[in-house]
Symmetry: D2
Subunit: 293 residues, 4 copies
């Protein structure tokens, strides 16, 4: 089985590396060619364009946003044009439900397979093959690549036969993480202004009720007020909140917490924070309370 991988950003590079290390025949492609060198050193082939990657049986994509994926998959000289009938496009990017649905339809019309398989986890988890994979698509298709998903993740959750449902689940998960950030920002501002040390407070929370990395890691960034370098940039978090709200609008589901988050991200980027870590949203409650300028 020949594998292709398009998109060697912080997440994609780790994922491709896992596949390479597992001994697969891997061809990679990235817009900026220098990001391919490390993988070539590890035994992968570097493609000159998308057409070359599409000679594979399974092509993964891990791209930044809707526009990037749309260009690569549906644009001229894109995946749709070159992928063989029967070959599978596995889309791991965090993109809109609507785009994923368009891809599902387009691939189906070309007799190509399509699986949406967005992931939970930070770059370190990607490099270690410890992601959580959320997959949706035809059952037999998913089964046919299960070995690959097992290389990338510590567990695969199969949520539906309809690919874009995986994207909905992924987006909702990022929404939940964002609510953790905002909640901690508000609670820490409250206790700090009340005279309680915010570091001790976080220690209390995360060694009792909230003993889980998402609270520990984001809590630490908020307590330290250290939002650089970004693990996950605010403009990406803003994009995900936008996509959650777009999906909710299509489905007619009011989401009051997501609306608050939307305004928080707008405030943050209005003040130039788009490249901070998205946990910087957790600093806005402190600003509102005049704890921060």
């Amino acid at each position: 089985m020949k594998i292709g991988f398009i998109g060697l950003g912080r997440m994609g590079a780790g994922m491709a590396s896992c596949i390479c290390q597992a001994g697969y025949d891997l061809t990679v492609f990235n817009r900026s060619a220098e990001r391919m060198q490390a993988l070539v050193g590890a035994g992968a082939n570097a493609a000159k364009n998308i057409a070359e990657v599409c000679a594979a049986d399974v092509v993964f994509t891990m791209l930044a946003d809707d526009k990037a994926l749309e260009d690569v998959a549906l644009g001229p000289a894109g995946i749709l044009e070159y992928l063989k009938p029967g070959a599978i496009h596995v889309s791991c990017s965090t993109v809109s439900v609507a785009l994923s649905a368009r891809l599902a339809l387009a691939h189906s019309q070309e007799q190509q397979g399509y699986i949406a398989a967005p992931v939970f986890g930070r770059p370190e988890a990607a490099a270690a093959g410890k992601l959580f994979m959320v997959a949706a698509g035809k059952r037999d298709l998913i089964e046919s690549i299960q070995a690959l998903l097992d290389i990338l993740g510590q567990h695969t959750f199969i949520v539906s036969e309809v690919p874009e449902k995986a994207n909905l689940v992924k987006l909702s998960g990022n929404f939940l993480i964002a609510t953790v950030i905002e909640s901690l920002g508000e609670a820490m501002s409250l206790v700090e202004k009340g005279g309680v040390d915010r570091h001790q407070y976080l220690e209390l929370l995360t060694s009792s009720l909230f003993n889980v990395p998402v609270y520990k890691n984001y809590g630490a960034m908020i307590a330290e007020r250290q939002f650089e370098p970004a693990g996950f940039a605010a403009h990406l978090g803003q994009k995900d909140v936008r996509l959650v709200l777009a999906a909710a609008e299509d489905l007619k589901v009011p989401l009051p917490f997501a609306s608050i988050l939307r305004d928080r991200f707008l405030n943050l980027v209005a003040h130039g924070g788009e490249d901070l870590d998205w946990s910087a949203v957790g600093g806005l409650a402190a600003k509102d309370a005049a704890l921060l300028p």
Copy 2:
């Protein structure tokens, strides 16, 4: 060392029982006398009134709300009147920051000790001595009862020398739990309306990013839409959100998520839900989305 315990509700009964089993000389008091029988059977003394309990060196209170604690502690024939100089009142109830501050001052004027020691944990944890204790007060006072706190809880977090800071921390913790409920309610409504099974979705969340009891337990209630019997009643949750907002108002800290929660609780009780479990707030997003009538 003689111990007194006032308030044998679902939480207090379990806590008093732990102290009794540890072999302490314990006198209990409860407004409804029949709640004292089990403890008397286990070796505790039943007091006829607050004055009798106040013969102890350390008196715990675990009561439902500000009014109950104010009556018992500051009312006529209350603790303040009878507690000996040098004896300690340990207040475990979830009450307002303002009342705790008043108690601190009043006890201090009477040369009585006062520790605020609210707890995290449900009734089963109380019965098992597995609570998380949040304590604040003079350091030597807390040290003098550390053995008792160790009996009640799996860990004691000492947050300040100023007693009411413990109440602020406790209230902020309940606020965080309420945000989990609301967040899950919104996320589950979104994915369910999008065609994803909400039970599977919860399983995914709680076996990956949110692998922690507070998400599992409340998530299960929301997924089952089973809000009776109440482990923690909605009117108590509403009270806690009110107290968080009152503390935040005094401290001048805007809390957008808490404001959303306030409106959710009002909606719930307007529709007769005050005796449901407070996780019923997590069903309102489904109602807004027309998933529930």
Copy 3:
């Protein structure tokens, strides 16, 4: 008919002056005695204490908040103690529904009359007898003082036989004004950041759809970003939003816009804005959008 008037602040001074000019036998009282001089010059009597004012047949109060009215009316040597049976207390202050209900009961027990008659209008309208009076109380009582209400206001709205309903209406009206302030703040920030002159924009709004003083006056303050001197101070606006929310909580009515306003006022006072005009809330949207520092 002898008239008493307690509370000669910016509103009360104008109201008392109208009564005086109409030729009534008027006795006034104010905590700071120097505020009584102008009225004495105009023919009123200055009382040394509340007891002296209470020799009147009708006693008006116009005070800053619940605490002030509670002290004057229910405190030691207060109105309740001295007012004659059959005499009437007309309470014009903007106070809580709960306090007004307590006053109604207390006066009734003393065979004293009680009318709640809060007002809409700024100090200039008070001085000119052009307020809008919102009155509630027993019909015959209100009729007996209609001539006085006609002196104070351009119109009297009688809303109920239950006095505190007038306070609810008054508070809801201030809530509506606050929503105008916030709405204009948001809309002006949007168009200004989009490149439209905010003064021209306001002119457009207020000469078409919103051709009414409340939009013109507050709109002008927001467009000028001139919030001093305060016509109505932010801390009073904050108090009114608090009282609206308290009434709504008792009645179990969620008010999402009022919750937003609550957080806006907290933000404002956290940054030292309590003595600005309450229209300063309309500047916060510009701050969020980074149009203002």
Copy 4:
């Protein structure tokens, strides 16, 4: 000067009729041909397609939404293709800022004039030539059609030389109207649950502080709870809130009230209310408060 008019819905029919009555040589076009008959009866010419309308010197469009305008103006056989160099497209529809900007650019590239001239007013005002016109575009272009604008409206506000600024102003105005609806809905629910007659309450408001049609008309619909037939349908109101939020997102302006409105509209349409008058949003506060089922 020959005039074309495309889009004879409730608004467009009235507007075209005014132009016809003023004696202009008018050619109209509407997708459903029967809507053209009344105007033909009044002396207008009926076009068979857009090309025929585009023989005019000035072509007005008044269409339901972005999609309709995009099809008519930018689609195949659309205005862009047929309008003569130097002729002017006057776009009166309430559409997105982004689409208006695209039209401005496209027309400019074809040497065609483009003015955005959205309107405030209901169908009766359109029929009577009493709209408020909000115009933006090159100053000389607007001057050249001022006589036409004077026929349609009681006043023209010129807000910018950049056409899409007029659309931003129009959308912000609809946002302000929606905030009036929500504010009244909340205030009326509060006082009604407190025991005050909501009709009397509205009378009080609109004969004092809020003596202006927008409060009177929408207030009456909310008080009557009569949301059919729709003067302006909820799905159109929802669209406008969406477009305001989209513009605000591009400009990085948080709008908390607009976020609340977004969720209100989603709730309304989730319950099948898309064809009600948009003032039905003002009934949701009553539903939350359990005043309505």
